[in-house]
């Protein structure tokens, strides 16, 4: 069993890198699409992690107030977690299309400054932001659940004491809640980073890396090179880069869990 689990991970470095080493990495340096894909991957990971944490913590705090309707929000955020990113991508293609809900709603309410449908996925300027938005929609429930679980153990006396001392909403958040959740935040951020490097099918199905490579990331470019253009050796160099990036997050994770424990 252990041998099985291993044959994939270690099998990798032995046959691939040794064989076609330096030449492929040289090509990599001159490939402007690779540069784009690398930049997009890093931007995707950074922005999705920041937004997931802002949205996840913000809504966990809101749900933790237990106002009416907090159950609805919690279940609503939970549902997208069960969806396949591929199917989620198909669903969003329809919602954002020219006859989709968003464009119809914008058209009806007259909020849109243009009378043309907005090309959320077709416009190179917008497509990348749209992809990140959909990732937030799908995964913020995960962060919310983790932060909500963390908030359950926050001693209410601390908040009360701060409130008696005259701390407002924001300073209670800044000086009581966030310091208390610091270890949780650290772990969740690293989990989001690790998850971010794994992005593939959402983008593959949603845009295929387009329009004009505006949403190309390393994994989609790797798939295209390896399985559509049969440049397996060249594509393997991307795999090395992806793994290296993910391992940087992994090292961060082990540092953090060492610190927490």
């Amino acid at each position: 069993m252990i041998a099985l689990a291993f044959s994939e991970w270690s099998g990798f470095s032995i046959d691939q890198i040794a064989w076609r080493g330096v030449d492929n990495f040289r090509t990599l340096g001159n490939d402007s699409i690779f540069d784009k894909a690398l930049v997009h991957t890093v931007l995707f990971v950074v922005f999705s992690t920041i937004l997931l944490n802002v949205v996840g913590l913000g809504l966990a705090l809101l749900i933790n107030t237990r106002v009416r309707g907090h159950d609805f929000l919690r279940v609503a955020m939970f549902l997208p977690l069960g969806l396949s990113p591929a199917i989620a991508a198909l669903i969003w293609q329809q919602i954002l299309g020219p006859y989709g809900f968003v464009n119809l709603a914008v058209g009806k309410t007259g909020l849109g400054l243009t009378d043309k449908p907005i090309g959320f996925l077709g416009d190179p300027q917008l497509a990348f932001a749209t992809v990140i938005g959909i990732a937030i929609w799908q995964y913020s429930g995960y962060n919310m659940l983790l932060y909500y679980a963390g908030l359950q153990s926050l001693p209410a006396e601390r908040l009360e004491a701060a409130a008696i001392d005259g701390a407002g909403w924001f300073s209670r958040l800044r000086y009581v809640v966030v310091p208390y959740l610091r270890p949780v935040i650290a772990v969740v951020v690293v989990l989001n980073l690790i998850g971010g490097w794994k992005v593939f099918e959402l983008i593959y199905v949603l845009t295929g890396g387009g329009p004009n490579r505006a949403t190309e990331v390393l994994s989609t470019y790797l798939f295209q090179q390896a399985f559509e253009f049969s440049r397996v050796g060249y594509a393997s160099t991307f795999a090395v880069v992806i793994i290296a990036l993910a391992m940087i997050s992994a090292v961060m994770r082990s540092r953090i869990s060492g610190e927490v424990a």
């Binding site: 955020m77 199917i87 993910a246």
Partner: protein, 296 residues
């Protein structure tokens, strides 16, 4: 005394109720509720939209009205045929069941070993397996594909089961080992004194106690395998021999925007089983989520 006692708490209770009511009715709480509803709507509207889209007529899909005008339940049957959902469902179920069984069997036994036979070597191997949690699938798909083709397993469901199992094992072993750690050694020692072998102690003492943890691992494996995409995409030859996620998205790209309502209907059919499982077992999901994320 006896007469007064029941009287005393009452004004307090009333005051508390009043305070609770004031707090509940404050404008800030009302605003909070409103925000909950609006943001919650953002999360569910896509799902509601795809359900209404699924029963629209082919012309209504291109109508400019937000509200649906037609209700064609037959879209589900049409989608089922056009997307060959019967075959895709069978494949997805085989892969999911196979992966869950294999992953549970391997991770339960491995967790027992890692928990009860500790050495420097086993701890090292355990850490190596944990790095599997962090490896992006795209990073290892090429060598895995080559290995499977070399073994003559290309285009076989078993190859997908092997791959999905490899991705499911790290989390399974992590969660289950943590659980085995909490089972006191005395329980197994008692069994050993009675002459039980390791295998018997595992089977009759440990395994029954692991049921809730096994359920959690089974749930996570079911969801991730059912939703798996890259492995079936790479390992199975064409959309007809593939799984729901790959088959539906490939056919959707081929048919283009002509039959959006059938894409929607097929998507709904593909996500309903997994959402039902997720909602039914959501306690296990939340438990496993925080255990897997925070415990380690």
């Amino acid at each position: 005394m006896t007469e007064l006692a029941p009287e005393l708490p009452q004004p307090r209770l009333a005051q508390r109720a009043l305070e609770a009511f004031r707090e509940r009715a404050s404008p800030a709480r009302f605003a909070g509720s409103l925000v909950c509803l609006v943001i919650g709507a953002v999360y569910v509207i896509p799902l509601i939209w795809v359900v209404t889209e699924a029963t629209k007529s082919s012309s209504d899909v291109f109508s400019t009205s937000v509200w649906p005008h037609s209700f064609r339940i037959s879209n589900y049957a049409d989608g089922w045929h056009q997307f060959q959902l019967g075959t895709l469902f069978v494949h997805t179920v085989i892969i999911t069941v196979g992966t869950v069984l294999l992953a549970i069997g391997l991770s339960v036994t491995a967790a027992y070993g890692f928990s009860r036979y500790r050495s420097k070597l086993s701890e090292g191997v355990f850490l190596l397996i944990l790095t599997g949690l962090m490896v992006p699938p795209a990073g290892i798909i090429i060598p895995f594909f080559l290995a499977m083709r070399h073994m003559g397993l290309y285009n076989s469901l078993f190859a997908v089961i092997l791959g999905e199992t490899a991705f499911a094992l790290p989390l399974g072993i992590l969660l289950l080992r943590g659980y085995v750690d909490t089972i006191p050694e005395e329980l197994t020692d008692a069994a050993f004194v009675d002459g039980a072998s390791d295998w018997k102690a595992f089977l009759y003492v440990i395994l029954p106690l692991l049921k809730p943890a096994v359920a959690t691992v089974a749930l996570f494996t079911t969801i991730s395998t059912w939703n798996g995409f890259l492995l079936p995409l790479v390992l199975l030859r064409d959309s007809v021999t593939s799984t729901l996620t790959v088959g539906i998205s490939q056919t959707a790209t081929q048919v283009g925007s002509l039959t959006l309502q059938l894409v929607a209907a097929s998507s709904v059919l593909a996500i309903v089983p997994v959402l039902v499982v997720l909602i039914a077992a959501r306690r296990y999901y939340v438990k496993g989520l925080s255990a897997g994320a925070l415990k380690h």
